[in-house]
């Protein structure tokens, strides 16, 4: 698996740290209640197919990326800076 970092270009998977589904970008209000927080922290769509996840370019430029990837074929479809994906 190789991921094309928007800053560094195409790089080996080993340069990246994986941090699960991209839900972390939608942090709920602290007072939103345990149901919302459980949803955010633990419950997952976990699709067999295309999904959006967070990857950290740990040994490259240190950027957080939102990577669109297929969990069945391992194909990387897209990678954008998390700061831009969020905006």
């Amino acid at each position: 698996m190789r991921i094309t970092c928007p800053i560094c270009g195409e790089r080996d998977r080993r340069e990246f740290y994986y941090k699960s589904a991209a839900v972390a970008l939608e942090r709920p209000d602290p007072e939103a209640g345990d149901g919302v927080w459980n949803d955010y922290l633990h419950l997952r769509e976990n699709p067999a197919g295309v999904t959006r996840e967070l990857w950290y370019h740990e040994t490259g430029c240190s950027a957080w990326l939102v990577v669109t990837r297929n969990t069945v074929s391992h194909e990387i479809l897209d990678a954008v800076l998390a700061s831009e994906a969020r905006a």
């Binding site: 698996m1 998977r13 994986y18 941090k19 699960s20 149901g35 922290l41 633990h42 976990n46 391992h74």
Partner: protein, 417 residues
């Protein structure tokens, strides 16, 4: 079908033409008392104990592929009871006891081999952690022996004891740990359930779960609709998708775990050995192949195959620990889909839907759990009460934060187990 020495002799002399299938191949009925989704180790053992211990035989196991095609036939077969935390500790202890009586219970040779498991440590801190774990195992009533370096050398003379980065300080020996023949476990439970009247239905994928007014009514499958009073979801890596059919989002992310086997060699590794460097473990099958593996690939996957970086890492770890295996040729590698939970521990529970039950979250360690998971899940389905050995495996622990079982102490977070 039964086996005996005489029968094997007779069949050998007459061209092995007399063997018959281990279980029937029934067409699905339109209705059952209980439908179990998933014919892996856990689904089959659940069906077996429903029939054997609760007398419930109007039961079907629906398997989308074939019996033994999932993780139950893909794992590295290690069976152990060396957990630390309450919840896991009593459950795996219960499971190991069931393993010890399993061949008699099923009248089937599952080749359970208690050859001893040795977890190596390489620093003072690791020694303390393993001493503590060993005490927890002994407190639970299981067995553990802390070995020093010379103690390990007696068992495993072939290790590189003086590796600069990871010198061997000692190991925690779990004498009752070992391996079993994974396929035989599936087949033995399948035969036992079938012979008691359970229908094992292969090539039957569940595509929907019917729920009316909060009560489960049955399932939709590729072989038609089947009504049921109770439905049990036991689909390991596919738990997220099947639970979604009931409108549930569950705390599971599916990851790929790889494993490897070499060509057959003469006996050289007599135990199960794990390297405390990170993760590498190895044992030798009865056929002679060295069976080994390491960590998850560490990204969500349904591919049943992994990537090369992990392959390289596992090979490096093996060569670092025991250079003698370097000339063995790797025959095959493969992957399985692991149902990972945030705290790395399983779930055996009811759901918000009446009559719908969930057994999942086996992470990379659910083979050794096959007997107890089936035993406890059958108890829950039959009586609607949790079995004492599995009563802490609750689904709502993630919401409440109470009763999380995070063996690694890294926090209940996806991607950390």
């Amino acid at each position: 079908m039964r086996f005996s020495g005489l029968r094997i002799l007779k069949e050998g002399l007459t061209g092995n033409r007399g063997w018959t299938p281990h279980w029937r191949d029934p067409a699905p009925k339109s209705e059952y008392d209980i439908v179990i989704i998933g014919g892996g180790g856990h689904g089959l053992s659940t069906a077996y104990y429903l029939a054997a211990e609760h007398g419930l035989t109007n039961v079907a196991v629906l398997e989308k592929g074939y019996i033994g095609g999932g993780n139950v036939g893909r794992n590295t077969t290690i069976v152990r009871a060396n957990y630390f935390l309450p919840g896991n500790s009593e459950f795996y202890s219960h499971s190991l006891k069931l393993w010890e009586g399993l061949e008699e219970e099923l009248n089937y040779n599952v080749m359970h081999s208690q050859r001893g498991l040795i977890n190596l440590f390489h620093s003072d801190g690791q020694r303390d952690a393993f001493a503590r774990r060993g005490n927890a195992m002994i407190n639970q009533g299981d067995d553990a022996v802390l070995l020093d370096r010379e103690g390990v050398r007696k068992y495993l003379p072939y290790l590189d004891f003086d590796n600069v980065r990871f010198p061997v300080y000692g190991g925690l020996l779990h004498p009752r740990g070992g391996t079993a023949r994974h396929d035989a476990v599936a087949w033995g439970y399948a035969r036992g359930a079938d012979s008691r009247g359970v229908d094992l239905i292969q090539n039957c994928e569940v595509t929907g779960i019917d729920i009316e007014n909060g009560v489960v009514k049955g399932v939709q499958t590729t072989r038609g609709a089947i009504r049921a009073k109770k439905v049990a979801m036991v689909v390991a890596g596919r738990s997220g998708q099947v639970a979604a059919m009931a409108g549930m989002r569950i705390p599971v992310e599916s990851h790929v775990l790889q494993a490897f086997v070499t060509e057959g060699l003469k006996p050289c590794i007599d135990h199960v050995v794990s390297f405390g460097m990170g993760h590498f473990y190895i044992s030798q099958s009865d056929k002679g192949g060295l069976v080994f593996g390491g960590d998850l690939d560490m990204y969500a996957s349904y591919a049943q195959r992994g990537n090369l970086p992990l392959v390289e890492h596992v090979m490096e770890a093996g060569m670092t620990l025991m250079p003698m295996i370097g000339k063995a040729k790797v025959l095959r590698s493969w992957g399985g889909i692991m149902d990972m939970t945030p705290d790395g521990s399983p779930i055996i529970d009811k759901t918000h839907v009446e009559g719908l039950y969930l057994d999942c979250g086996w992470n990379y360690g659910g083979f050794k759990a096959v007997p107890a998971s089936g035993n406890c899940f059958a108890h829950l389905i039959a009586t609607d009460r949790h079995h004492a050995a599995a009563e802490k495996f609750r689904l709502d622990r993630f919401r409440s934060g109470v009763g999380l079982m995070d063996e690694e102490g890294t926090g209940a977070q996806h991607n950390l187990h």
